[in-house]
Symmetry: C2
Subunit: 268 residues, 2 copies
């Protein structure tokens, strides 16, 4: 099974893909749009994309692409994010002067930098990419911060494991395909919808769920691309493809300008 | 007036601060938490922070900090984002091999890179910082992408102006202070609230606005820090500090676990 991911091999997306589809082959892509392109034209079987992190929030670009492209969410997965300090084999803690990683990862390891004042955090475009950079350039005074998968990908060594400040750090991933497929046990639905900009519009939209005792587990508004300050709503509700859910969606279509079912899948 | 911003001098925050408070003195801070710290302890008069971009979405860290810290939104401002290709004086288009900028800025200038295949986009931690990097290191084969303010800050030269793909690119900024102050003409309120995780909770919460014909202009759920998959809601509604708004907030406090008024200010 070929799975596209955004970013370098060895990233958290790589780790999530291996956990969701053991034995899969990873196809790293520089940009998220390319990941969706590959799914769309069938040059991969599926893609695994991060959608929200419990500390950093939503990956907004992926919400936009889920709405714009003809893809369907088949599964979700929650990965515990563990940040490791990864070096060239033989490099010791006292050799370090700089530590590269994605700004979000650096921010999540603040205590480490507080305890190691001589080490400078340097923002880099990607977590796994920072390890690749350190290993390929044989940097002996630098480290990268990334997940365990990066050690295997680039033959680095872990100097310190689990240096993230907050252990309650999870990222939610989706496995997406070009064709709609609803797995057995699917009990969660992700949708996008847009409303006319009139008072009470969202209240009416949410009534279609409240009136049927359907629980929303997430709602988020995002500006619509190209229409500044008009919003599209992303919501998850805790029902699969059953009668109540279909009635609610039918009812929602009456009050919304646009409704798209992004996926129906088993809750992680 | 001293105003703290996150990031380097010459950034879009710098531009927004100058537009909101002409003649102000800028205090650049490396991290957003430091910006809020400075406002809190009074070492600056105010701060100007980006809160959402019409293409890239919310600046989630700033929502978290607005909730966590004792600050108050006094004004909002919408800045049109214009990306410029900025070089060392004397450098020509044909000299360029690399263009540095923040990944979001690079992504918003995709057409430029499509037309200039020999130029490689290189992710950098900051837009203005990319210009600083190019100018300070006297790089003659590289450019940065940033706003006009960066030209003044680092004595660069604009080689091409307005290279962003989508002209409908705006960022919304808040001016925040440590003390609550409601300006004359305030007609918009930003709040944060959290709800028990039970069916219909959000529906009930929104009813307090719908029942009073109060229009919501934005709503967004964010995971609560330290409580994965519990959400706090951020909403804007189009009323100032009047009786209907106060009644709605009083009613909201009955159904919500927590309600915080983040600011009451004139709509931009």
């Amino acid at each position: 099974m070929k799975i596209a991911i955004q970013g370098e091999a060895g990233s958290f997306s790589h780790e999530a893909a291996r956990r969701m589809a053991p034995g899969c082959t990873i196809v790293p892509c520089a940009r998220s749009a390319e990941v969706f392109d590959r799914v769309g034209r069938g040059s991969v079987d599926a893609a695994v994309i991060p959608i929200e992190n419990s500390l950093a929030g939503s990956v907004t670009e992926h919400f936009d692409l889920l709405l714009a492209r003809k893809v369907f969410i088949e599964r979700e997965f929650r990965l515990r994010i563990v940040h490791n300090l990864i070096v060239l084999p033989g490099v010791k803690r006292e050799d370090l002067r700089r530590v590269y990683s994605h700004p979000v990862a650096l921010e999540q390891c603040r205590d480490f930098f507080r305890r190691n004042r001589k080490v400078e955090p340097v923002p880099f475009y990607d977590t796994a990419g920072s390890v690749k950079h350190v290993v390929e350039n044989r940097l002996r005074d630098a480290a990268g911060i990334a997940g365990r998968q990066a050690v295997k990908a680039y033959k680095g060594r872990i100097l310190a494991a689990g240096i993230e400040d907050d252990k309650r750090n999870f990222t939610r991933f989706f496995l997406i395909r070009s064709k709609r497929r609803v797995l057995r046990g699917a009990n969660k639905t992700s949708i996008a919808f847009s409303l006319q900009n009139i008072p009470g519009a969202l209240f009416k939209a949410l009534s279609v769920f409240a009136l049927r005792d359907i629980s929303l587990s997430k709602i988020e508004s995002r500006p619509m691309r190209g229409r500044p300050w008009e919003y599209v709503f992303y919501a998850d509700f805790l029902r699969g493809d059953d009668l109540a859910a279909r009635n609610a969606l039918h009812h929602l279509a009456e009050v919304a300008d646009l409704v798209k079912v992004l996926g129906v899948y088993p809750s992680a």
